[in-house]
């Protein structure tokens, strides 16, 4: 049958029927401004993309859009900066530092503009979708937008609700890294789920207010080794990599983990944890498919001790590790893991203090991101736990990124790599043998 009125050409199995709406805080915030810290601005070119898959059944069927939206209103009362929009500070008076052409410092105007909600459908079953393991399926389930070109009207958070044919539900969050790092984002989403389930979440801490760091590094200094300087960025906060980047997730089962751990037994410096082992494996594989030339990696970690307790902050540590001499493609995983455990050069403060625009993930080097301590599976909706969660990133540079997060049962690991699309197939092939238990 041919439907004359069909609006869009729907590729079979694609996500379609997008409907956009907005959710705002339930009470007037007042015209306050949320100042952005230097660390926040360092991450402004990156966007977190997280998808949570919920199984079909009675509970999922009862999750009408209204049920999901209603708790967001009080949730945004607590997280009102997330409902704001980016503005640039007023021009400094004549006699201020810097020439008139220098970009003014961005901040968040908490004007209750809101968070964008996207409703979509997919004509495939969720199981089939997950089994397919298609690269970049994340992009279909998280609304693919960034800040700009009109900063005034760009939401900091998109939530996409996709219903599969079988009744399963996927929740896709597109979060601007500017407003908070991975633990901040995940805690924020978990709080929404708590309100939905009728629990009262912990208070949101938004004080002390952010202030620009005093000891700014002077102009003309080169960027720290962990990051790559780009720009200057005007109002479109995305640096398009020369090549098409895609996200791909694969599972590292606990048997494989045990095998990796065994490999490092007998070494006198066996101090590597699961993150080091898994990301070392990824490092080695990427080095192999690129034929060497991945000598340095940037490491971004969630150090629980380093967190100040603020609900919205960019407090992940950024550093780099250089492989000593030998090519990582030929080095043992255990050896690389040991390097990652011991030889990280911390550059967090330097990155925050650096004045120019930088790409942290995938900018200067392949970036390994530690999400192990982030409780992603805690996003339970009315008692329904997600069957699968994957986190990727947008705005990643050509060098690529590797995100390591816990898997559904907590024993294995789920790794999402963000790489140029043409490297994904080679990676799959190269991993094939490494992920076998035998």
């Amino acid at each position: 049958m041919v439907f004359e009125q069909e609006q869009e050409e729907v590729a079979p199995g694609a996500v379609h029927g997008h409907r956009l709406s907005t959710v705002v805080p339930s009470s007037v915030t007042g015209e306050v401004d949320y100042a952005l810290a230097d660390a926040d601005l360092a991450f402004k070119l990156h966007y977190l993309r997280g998808v949570y898959y919920y199984p079909p059944g009675d509970v999922a069927r009862g999750l009408a859009t209204k049920v999901l939206k209603d708790p967001m209103f009080p949730w945004l009362d607590d997280y009102f900066p997330v409902a704001g929009r980016v503005r640039r500070a007023e021009q400094e008076a004549a006699g201020g530092e810097g020439d008139a052409g220098a970009p003014r410092r961005p901040y968040i105007k908490c004007n209750d503009c809101g968070v964008r909600i996207v409703e979509a459908k997919c004509d495939r079953d969720m199981d089939e979708w997950l089994r397919d393991d298609a690269p970049d399926r994340l992009r279909q389930l998280c609304y693919d937008k960034v800040l700009g070109p009109e900063l005034f009207f760009s939401p900091l958070l998109y939530v996409q609700i996709t219903i599969f044919k079988c009744g399963g539900l996927a929740l896709g969050f597109s979060w601007a890294h500017l407003i908070g790092d991975v633990p901040s984002a995940v805690t924020c989403f978990n709080k929404w789920a708590q309100i939905l389930s009728g629990k009262k979440p912990e208070d949101t801490v938004l004080t002390p207010l952010n202030k620009p760091v005093q000891g700014q590094s002077p102009e003309g200094v080169t960027a720290p080794r962990s990051v790559k300087q780009v720009g200057p960025i005007e109002d479109h906060w995305l640096v398009s990599a020369g090549r098409d980047m895609a996200c791909y997730s694969f599972h590292v089962s606990d048997e494989v983990l045990k095998k990796l751990q065994q490999q490092q037994k007998g070494r006198h410096d066996a101090a590597a944890g699961t993150f080091e082992l898994v990301s070392a494996l990824a490092w080695q594989t990427v080095a192999k498919i690129r034929g060497g030339d991945v000598d340095t990696v940037t490491v971004v970690r969630t150090g629980a001790a380093a967190r100040s307790g603020k609900s919205l902050a960019n407090e992940m540590t950024v550093g780099y590790v250089a492989s000593a001499g030998s090519s990582p493609a030929k080095t043992d995983v255990a050896e690389l893991a040991a390097l990652l455990a011991k030889n990280v050069v911390d550059e967090t403060a330097a990155v925050a203090a650096f004045q120019g625009d930088v790409l942290v993930y995938g900018g200067a080097n392949l970036t390994l991101v530690d999400m192990e301590q982030v409780d992603v599976y805690a996003l339970e909706i009315k008692g329904l736990r997600p069957v699968h969660v994957e986190y990727g990133m947008d705005g990643v540079g050509e060098e690529g990124a590797v995100l390591v997060q816990p898997d559904a049962d907590g024993r294995g690991r789920l790794v999402t790599v963000v790489l140029p699309r043409d490297e994904i197939d080679s990676l799959r092939a190269a991993l094939g043998t490494a992920l076998q238990v035998a």
């Binding site: 956009l20 709406s21 907005t22 705002v24 007037v28 209103f73 004007n111 809101g114």
Partner: protein, 494 residues
């Protein structure tokens, strides 16, 4: 000192005015008192013996007495029967939308920007919103939160059910009204008129009686609320011992204008979600708990004038989008309609002192000097409270100027515009709720509700308060009345 002289002069004038008002308004009393005193003195002087002989000289016998008594009883009965039945407002309920329908300025502007390609109309709407007098807390129905809005019939019905049923449920809670006790149902909603009608929708939901007298008024604009009250009152004159339920609302969902004609973009910016349900009754026993009694309803229709007829006009623009165009002459026409309405209502409500002044000035204009300005009667002497339809800041400003009201008198209207936006025919009830929530409504207070609407119509209703209203009132203002009044800036910077 000259200022001292002027000051004492104005004080003297004030006392002169007060004296004049007292004299004229209590003229009959002032006349009657000396007459009664003289009669009493005369009677006392005559003495009982003389009075008795006066009585005997009339030579009245039983027939005369019976006929006189019969005459008196007959006249008295005719008088009592021909008086209009009093119409009591037992109680009313205003719908308070949930926080999930809230529309801050920034969100409205962002949606406008995303939906429309036309830069000019986006800027125009920003300017309108900045000067509108609305606050950050007004409400739009769920369908309007989508980009672009989703004006389907199903969504419109859903909004109608949400606002109307919530208002009626609230009214039932407040009054204990039973569905089988509703004898008359009047619903007014100007721009959404499905089949079966909204009144049928209410009858279906609440299982009302099969012999109910229901009416559904559509297309009558923002003043239709008072037209419904008028219709209910007329019905209550014909049917004794009855209850009338009046529901006033405006359904926003189907009326989002998608084009770019400036005169049609105003309703998008100003109209917001709201509804009110009112219980009127002519039953004697309701008089004890009723809040108000309806004193007058005055309706003025200027439709015979072409300019007035076309000033609020629904039509399609060049691209085929349907919208309501508001002409630039709207304020002038509203002023005219108001003057007509005042001319009719003035004699009904104004004290004699004001009417005489108006009459003499009118005579003077006709006979002595045509350039004299017409006397604007001081309506503050006739009413304690004013509810002016919150059609927009311009309407309230215009009426404040025309009627020479202070800012306290128009506070209810301005604050309703700020908190709820222009909710069309139900705005008068939100304003009344504001006055009650502020604890200003006392027994004996008179309220003047003025509504304007397409046509062009100006309708007035006068209510008298029967009992002092205590706070808190469990109305739509309860959670925020402590913040009001707020100072609404001329221009809000977006």
């Amino acid at each position: 000192m000259p200022t001292g002289g002027v000051f004492s002069g104005s004080v003297n004038l004030k006392y002169v005015k007060l004296g004049y008002q007292y004299l004229v308004n209590h003229f009959l009393t002032l006349l009657l008192v000396p007459v009664m005193a003289a009669t009493a003195l005369e009677l006392a002087r005559l003495g009982p013996g003389e009075l008795l002989s006066l009585w005997r000289s009339l030579e009245l016998d039983l027939v005369h007495i019976l006929c006189s008594a019969f005459l008196v009883v007959f006249v008295g009965t005719v008088y009592v029967m021909s008086r209009p039945r009093p119409v009591y407002l037992v109680d009313y309920a205003c719908y308070k939308p949930p926080a999930s329908c809230r529309v801050p300025f920034a969100t409205f502007m962002e949606h406008t920007r995303l939906i429309s390609d036309d830069d000019k109309s986006v800027r125009f709407q920003t300017r309108i919103l900045e000067r509108s007098g609305l606050g950050e807390d007004t409400y739009l129905p769920p369908a309007n939160h989508y980009i672009p809005p989703n004006p389907s019939m199903e969504a419109s019905r859903a909004e109608a059910q949400l606002v109307i049923f919530s208002a009626i449920d609230d009214l039932v809670r407040r009054t204990g009204l039973k569905p089988k006790d509703i004898d008359i149902l009047v619903v007014n909603c100007s721009l959404f008129s499905p089949t079966p009608s909204l009144s049928a929708m209410i009858i279906n939901k609440y299982k009302l009686r099969s012999n109910i007298r229901s009416f559904n008024l559509s297309g009558m604009g923002c003043s239709a609320g008072l037209i419904s009250i008028d219709l209910a009152r007329d019905m209550l004159q014909v049917h004794p011992n009855s209850n009338a339920l009046v529901v006033s609302t405006e359904i926003i969902t189907p009326n989002f204008y998608q084009g770019s004609r400036r005169d049609m973009l105003l309703p998008n910016c100003l109209f917001r979600m709201g509804a009110a349900a009112i219980l009127l009754s002519n039953r004697r026993r309701e008089a004890r708990r009723a809040k108000y009694r309806l004193v007058h309803v005055v309706r003025t229709h200027k439709g015979a004038d072409d300019r007035a007829y076309r000033c609020v006009y629904q039509e399609e623009d060049d691209q085929g989008f349907s919208g309501i165009s508001l002409s630039k002459e709207l304020m002038a026409i509203a002023g005219d309609a108001l003057k007509s309405n005042i001319t009719t209502i003035g004699p009904l409500v104004l004290p004699m002192s004001e009417q005489l002044l108006f009459f003499f000035r009118l005579v003077g204009r006709k006979l002595i000097n045509k350039t004299w300005k017409p006397y604007i009667p001081d309506f503050k002497l006739a009413f304690e409270h004013f509810c002016i339809h919150a059609g927009g800041r311009a309407v309230i400003d215009e009426l404040q100027k025309n009627l020479q009201l202070s800012s306290r008198h128009v506070e209810a209207s301005r604050m309703t515009l700020h908190r709820f936006g222009n909710t069309s025919s139900s705005s008068l009830w939100y304003e009344l709720a504001y006055i009650e929530a502020k604890g200003r409504m006392r027994r004996g207070d008179r309220v003047w509700q003025i509504g304007f609407g397409s046509g062009f119509k100006c309708n007035s209703a006068v209510w008298k308060c029967l009992r002092s209203i205590k706070t808190p009132t469990n109305g739509p203002w309860d959670d925020c009345i402590h913040r009001y009044p707020v100072d609404v800036p001329e221009v809000v910077k977006l």
